[in-house]
């Protein structure tokens, strides 16, 4: 069991408040990813759950028990650090056994648990090596092994893949996900990489400036972003934003283009932002006029960097296109794929859900 509930978590360093009242429910066995740009408070929140930071206000509870006054070791939570934080003077086996040794478990029990974890993580041939003799990916696995042997209620990951190269990162991503499916331990994972968040999470918590911006499954966030920030943060290439104003049930951009699909009930003349994902745009005979700046074919799909009179627009298409830089093209938006945001609050104007 390991359900985590955060209630009104606040954290201040002196006069500076970095977490402004975070509420979050994490169900048992859930893989939750905290994602946001640097400085958004995601790591601080994670470290508060671990007990490495003391919170200024609020409550952290694990399976209904309030744990925020407890020492880290009394919380039954294990953490995997960004820089692995392996003990350089201990072998892989000793690194993994350290917590069990401190807990004064029987040697036979320690050996069995270390062996089990090593088998899960493919570390058996490396047990007698020192951390410096391992590659980055192997060190990462040892760090996970150290967490696994304790069989904690919750795993915390603090940007565990950011020190690995791109290829290894994709591989480790899959390994961590597979590990979670196997152990089904509640996992809270911090990253600034929205692709990691999208691919790994059951639930994504998007944070910004010490607030929770939106909580939801990856596809919920992708399909129904609550704000311009979430819309721009989730998805790659990022969503295009076209500022304009409501006019006759449509959005009119400053340079005269008209975008259909404005939700009902928006006051005439209200300043809005139209958001459209690059793959929801297609080339057409008429519509928004834009000039082609750069063409980037990747084989499977082609990305076009376009420029209207006042904004840059990205378009991706799986079709082979026959345009050249400098050409003027016209864009249409796939029906029902337009996102509308209030220009002032930058919140979604969607009415059909929360």
């Amino acid at each position: 069991m390991g359900s985590v509930t955060l209630t009104n978590i606040r954290k201040s360093y002196g006069a500076v408040e970095v977490l402004h009242g975070i509420d979050l429910d994490i169900a048992d066995g859930e893989f939750t990813v905290l994602v946001g740009p640097s400085g958004c408070g995601k790591s601080t929140l994670l470290r508060s759950i671990a007990g490495l930071e003391t919170i200024s206000d609020g409550e952290i509870s694990l399976d209904g028990e309030i744990i925020n006054k407890r020492q880290p070791k009394e919380r039954d939570i294990a953490m995997v650090f960004q820089n692995y934080a392996l003990y350089p003077h201990m072998t892989v086996a000793k690194n993994m056994a350290f917590s069990l040794r401190l807990a004064k478990e029987a040697q036979s029990e320690i050996d069995r648990k270390v062996k089990d974890a090593a088998e899960i993580l493919d570390l058996v041939p490396l047990l007698d090596r020192y951390p410096r003799q391992l590659s980055g990916g192997q060190r990462q696995r040892v760090a996970m092994g150290r967490a696994i042997v304790r069989d904690p209620k919750v795993f915390l990951f603090d940007e565990p893949l950011s020190n690995l190269d791109a290829k290894l990162r994709v591989q480790m991503r899959a390994e961590i996900k597979e590990l979670h499916q196997r152990l089904k331990t509640t996992t809270i994972y911090v990253t600034h990489d929205q692709i990691e968040a999208m691919t790994m999470a059951d639930k994504i918590v998007v944070m910004r400036g010490g607030h929770v911006e939106q909580i939801g499954s990856p596809l919920e966030l992708y399909d129904r972003p609550a704000s311009v920030f979430v819309a721009g943060f989730i998805g790659s290439p990022a969503m295009n934003f076209l500022p304009g104003s409501a006019k006759g049930g449509a959005i009119q951009t400053p340079n005269g283009d008209v975008i259909q699909g404005l939700p009902d009930g928006i006051a005439e003349g209200r300043a809005v932002i139209a958001g459209v994902r690059p793959e929801d745009l297609r080339l057409a005979d008429q519509g928004i006029a834009a000039r082609v700046v750069v063409i980037e074919p990747t084989g499977a799909e082609t990305q076009l960097m376009l420029r209207t009179a006042d904004t840059d627009i990205t378009l991706t298409t799986r079709d082979r296109v026959s345009v050249a830089p400098g050409d003027t093209v016209h864009l249409q938006i796939e029906p029902g794929k337009l996102h509308c945001f209030d220009a002032e609050t930058e919140m979604s104007l969607r009415t059909d859900d929360t």
Binding site: A50, G51, L52, Q71, P72, K73, I77, A78, M79, F81, Q82, N83, A85, L86, Y87, P88, H89, M90, F98, S99, L102, A103, Y130, R132, Q133, R146, R150
Partner: protein, 293 residues
């Protein structure tokens, strides 16, 4: 190519000459002198071990060896242990420790002679403030003569020595402790280690390199320390605080027993060389096991 080599030799020539003149030369002289019989300051034939046999027959020499052991081993051990404790305390960030980190070097920058004189008077049997304070506060029944009591004097010297040498050890270890990666400490906290266990199992192994280096360096410092014991006690009372450095000085420059003094210097040199060899051995071993990092 040939020119480059000549130039290289030429460039190191001054250092080679300096080392030959000031290190190798005197060492060679002491070596030959220790094997030369000397009577009343007159050289009477080279090629004898009589200086060494005379030394072993001298009861003071054995006392000196014992005192030197207290001085070097006790001094080094306490210096490093106290330094480790103080360094660990200083490594904690607070307003107090940042101020103390600067102040603690004070004993270290004072000249030897000033330190020795100040402590000599403070510890004086009749007029010393320390003995008086202990008596007036009722902690001792009568004034202790720290430097006059043959059983106390060696340990009193060691205390002053530590007061003087410990600060730098503490600072070096403080810097080493502060360079231990935070995430290892945090990982140990998550693993359930208490403060002591974190220190014992994470901090100490991480600073092992600095710890051995600082131990050997203090050992060499303490072996070479002369002014402090010489000024404070001059080896007395009745040779009870006589150590190698002071006894060599006394034998050569007060009694003019150069043969005996040289023999002791050779023994001293062998001791120092073994310490350094031990240090190099430990270091090479830990370098070998550290690998390229």
């Amino acid at each position: 190519m040939q020119n480059d080599r000549l130039l290289a030799y030429f460039m190191i020539l001054p250092v080679v000459i300096a080392v030959l003149a000031f290190v190798i030369g005197p060492t060679y002289n002491v070596g030959t002198l220790s094997l030369t019989k000397i009577v009343m300051g007159q050289e009477r034939g080279f090629g004898t071990f009589s200086n060494f046999t005379a030394l072993t027959a001298d009861p003071v020499f054995w006392l000196v060896l014992k005192n030197t052991a207290i001085w070097i081993l006790g001094g080094t051990l306490l210096c490093v242990l106290v330094g480790l404790g103080v360094g660990a305390f200083l490594s904690v960030d607070s307003r107090l420790t940042t101020g103390l980190r600067a102040l603690i070097l004070l004993p270290w920058v004072l000249p030897d002679v000033v330190t020795a004189m100040a402590w000599k008077w403070m510890l004086h049997g009749q007029v010393g403030i320390i003995g008086q304070t202990l008596e007036t506060t009722g902690l001792t029944e009568e004034t202790i003569s720290f430097l006059g009591d043959p059983n106390l004097v060696m340990w009193t010297l060691v205390v002053v020595l530590i007061w003087r040498k410990m600060p730098l050890v503490a600072l070096i270890l403080c810097a080493a402790i502060r360079s231990v990666p935070d995430d290892q400490i945090e990982a140990a906290r998550m693993d359930g280690a208490t403060a002591f266990e974190r220190f014992r199992f994470v901090v100490i192994p991480n600073i092992a390199f600095s710890l051995t280096a600082v131990t050997v360096i203090s050992m060499i410092w303490i072996t070479a320390e002369f002014a402090l014991p010489w000024i404070m006690t001059g080896g007395g009372p009745a040779n009870s605080s006589q150590i190698m450095a002071t006894y060599i000085y006394q034998q050569s420059f007060e009694f003019f027993n150069w043969g005996i003094a040289s023999a002791m210097s050779v023994i001293n040199l062998v001791m120092l060389a073994s310490i350094v060899a031990l240090y190099l051995y430990i270091n090479r071993r830990s370098w070998a096991s550290e690998g390229s990092k």
